[in-house]
């Protein structure tokens, strides 16, 4: 499947000499939700800004829908809707006017029915005549999404879409994003909320210090890098582990009350069966056990530290 966005050897050095992006290569598949994760200053917003035409690249090439963003910027940009990180709004305009203005900017003829649908989908219809200055932060965020969707883009960039948004509203936005994906829109989102990427993304990219560290299917990533932890709550405390268990990577915790065993889910053998057998042989009994899987956040932190 050909990419809807293709970034090749992209670098960006600011006038101050700061290199925000270093030889970035990235392909986005049509119709997917791609989450770009990275710490502050990693280069996420710079990458989005270049693709959308807000910043100039220093080196490299970006194609959007097969169109070069510099030589064929009209065609490339007309495919994109952008919701920036900051709440940039025309405070004294009405919701309807500002969303209609956005559609006009992209050269689309008036289509009140489409604007109405977008506003209704985003629960903004009853606020269509309200001035933006009177809206709450969450509503302003939705107005920005409405502006980005006003010209029926094929690609939607969401730069930290749920920053500062309460949990309920965040889940509402996830629903909106899923609905958009079902209608064929490709979505690229940057986020600090790992749970957001874990919940929504089909693929995940990790960027750090201006370089793409990893791009992987979310499920594969979780499987490949995910670790599981078995915790055994012992009947009696242990002072030390018996020698017969020395070849297991076990940690004695809580003053000897629990045994912790980390294992790799991708391995053919987890070693759990033999561990339980050896524990029994050693006369170590336990009251309870539980297992936990490492979250995307753990994976992300590990990757960033490693890079």
């Amino acid at each position: 499947m050909s990419s809807i966005i293709s970034v090749a050897n992209l670098s960006k050095t600011y006038g101050s000499g700061f290199k925000a992006l270093n030889n970035v290569n990235l392909d986005i598949k049509p119709g997917e939700i791609f989450a770009l994760l990275g710490p502050n200053g990693a280069g996420k917003t710079t990458l989005i800004s270049i693709i959308c035409g807000i910043a100039n690249p220093s080196e490299g090439k970006v194609l959007v829908g097969g169109e070069n963003i510099q030589t064929s910027y009209r065609k490339a940009r007309s495919l994109i809707g952008l919701v920036p990180q900051e709440l940039h709004t025309d405070a004294f305009e009405s919701v309807w006017a500002t969303v209609s203005f956005s559609r006009g900017l992209f050269g689309k003829p008036k289509n009140p029915a489409h604007i109405e649908k977008v506003l209704k989908d985003l629960s903004l219809w009853d606020k269509k005549d309200s001035k933006i200055i009177t809206l709450s932060g969450g509503m302003k965020r939705r107005v920005m999404i409405a502006k980005a969707l006003s010209h029926e883009p094929q690609i939607l960039f969401l730069d930290e879409p749920t920053a500062g948004v309460d949990v309920e509203l965040r889940k509402g936005m996830w629903e909106v994003v899923r609905t958009l994906q079902q209608s064929g829109v490709t979505i690229i989102l940057t986020t600090h909320y790992i749970e957001e990427a874990e919940e929504m993304a089909d693929r995940i990219g990790v960027i750090n210090k201006g370089e793409i560290v990893l791009v992987e299917d979310k499920a594969t990533l979780m499987q490949k890098l995910g670790k599981k932890r078995l915790t055994l709550h012992l009947q009696g405390k242990l002072d030390a582990l018996p020698e017969s268990l020395g070849h297991y990577e076990l940690d004695l915790c809580d003053g000897g009350a629990t045994l912790v065993y980390d294992y790799d889910t991708k391995g053919e053998r987890t070693g759990i069966t033999s561990l339980l057998g050896d524990l029994r042989t050693a006369g170590i009994r336990f009251n309870d056990l539980d297992t936990t899987q490492s979250s995307l956040e753990d994976i992300f932190v590990d990757l960033v530290r490693a890079s």
Binding site: N56, R74, S78, L82, G104, L105, G107
Partner: protein
Amino acid sequence: MNYRAVRAIYLFEMARTWRTLLQSIVSPVVSTSLYFVVFGAAIGSRISQVEGVSYGTFIVPGLIMLSVLTQSIANASFGIYFPKFTGTIYEILSAPISYFEIVLGYVGAAATKSIILGLIILATAGLFVPLHIHHPVWMLAFLVLTAVTFSLFGFIIGIWADGFEKLQMIPMLVVTPLTFLGGSFYSIDMLPSAWRTVALLNPVVYLISGFRWSFYEIADVSVSVSVGMTTAFLMICLVLIWWIFRTGYRLKN
């Protein structure tokens, strides 16, 4: 050509004028009326005629130019500065619209507002003094040329400014003094010869002179020089704007 985008920017900017009608139209008209009262009635009564025209009538073109110059700069500079200030400029920069179309939308709206204002002031002046326009087509041509040129200049100031202080600095410290010293209220022939030579370095002299000629066929410099100087300033502004967009100066990182 993305006509719809140009139209969207143009109508958006014009809508701001109607929203702020008091500030955009009424305030300059009141200010100009006060000039007529002070300069036309109070001072004018002590000056009989200037080159065969009553003083009150003589200052009309200068007063219109004063408002058109300052309002063109104010409208265009604020029009592009405000999206930069609020951050909504991201939308303009990421839209499928060329630099020419952006300028056309913003400068077109700013110039339109100034022209409307100039015509309102002209009508207001008609209430105070008798007016006769010898060359109405030339009068409109000068009005449009000046409004467009100084709207372009205002656009440049709006891009350059990184704070409200800078936004006001050039209009307050440069343009207003140049306009007052450019013959709005007098003919530069009334100055001593040395000061007359200095006055000819002021580009506003040429605008007011040409504009006044279209009204009364009296001018400080020849009409062709006035047209040439205004066109030259227009070209300088266009080149500067072309450079701004080519380099992304204060717009793109």
